[in-house]
Amino acid sequence: MSEELPKVLKAAGLDLLSCMQCGTCTGSCPSGRHTGLNTRRILRDARKNRTAILSDDALWLCTTCYTCQERCPRNIPITDALLELRRLAVKEGFMLPEHRRISEMVMECGHAVPLDEETKQKREELGLDSIPETVQKYPEALQEVKNLLKACKFDELTAEK
């Protein structure tokens, strides 16, 4: 990690320096009640440029519910900062295999959750067209999505490193 975490976060408008480590974030966290996610500690570690947090799976236990951000007495956009840390982690090549598969799915069919046979049948039972009016019905639209993702070099980002 060549860049320093606090600097990257600050450049994104996310200044963690006002964090007083009160723990309201962790105390409010629905995930932290049941999992190993400790938001307060992530903020502290990010501020101290402890880059090990990027490779820690705990970063992906946040459901992005924004409760910590709403309750932070210092008005730190905590969830936004966490998302920024995730983006840095991905840049460094840390990505869960399940998330890689979802990315591949979108690159392949334009949907994170594509149509299956069971749902086609359910659609017909309801009197809906078996194929919905989405990218799945229009090959030229799907090609657009593929070209757009390629223009963003998304395939390179999500390729296994």
Binding site: W60, T63, T67, V106
Partner: protein, 300 residues
Amino acid sequence: MEKLSLFLGCIVPNRYPGIEKATKLCLQKLEIDAADLPGASCCPAPGVFKSFNKATWLALASRNIVLSEKMERDILTVCNGCYGSLADANLELKKSPELRECTNRCLKEIGMEFQGTAEVRHIVEFLYKELGPERLKEYVTIPLDLKVALHYGCHLIKPSRDRKLGETDAPVFFDELVEATGAKSVDYTDKMMCCGAGGGVRSGHAAESLEMLEHKLACIRKAGVDCIVNACPFCHLQFDRGQLAVNERYGTDYSIPVLHYSQLLGLALGFSPYELGIEQNAVQNIEFLAKIYEISAGLR
């Protein structure tokens, strides 16, 4: 813009088409002009894409927005995730000339340009602001004698900085819409807690996601309700299919029916559970269906 385009996203058309059908039936009945949005893709999923790369997230979201801009319609979403992703992207692109320029460079590759002329709406906030519970009541033909555990979901109201739908610890606007159908919105412990699916947690950390869900289900069961009502197909999937997974994992016997708000409203507007796809859910609760048919037949 009074004209809307209906953005389906992924889970509605591809897993829970009953929500698509229910939404279309309700919009028609309420005389709201919402056209299909042909060629739309994944919003893209905020938990994964927003977590991966901002430029890609903005590019894919803006393509969907541009499709609606071209139709000169605002986007109507029926999913908190799609709403969060598209509304956030729309706001960021309208606010920042740099992000807009960068995104438009990508869009140019497919001959598109983001103009910033469309708004992104969620069906719940749309109905609340544009119609309101009182006018909605006028359309109700079958008042629903039901006790409901309402789940707002996170991205409908948060971050409040951008959503501007009031405070987020005890909001009431969605409860008012639920009660406009005749149902009673019952308070329960941790009502505002997340369902545990978002942020890529359901896909990436399934066990932890189910643990959060189990807590939520236990709180809901204690409240003694007829069904859960949500405004997000991802929460819907978590509550419905997740319930079976929770039962398998914890040996519990949850069987709480799960309805999207469009389906609840659809019942009150006189449509049957079959027409609204409620019977297609993973959770099969015969008692609930019998109760609905009794209510519809005027037997309760």
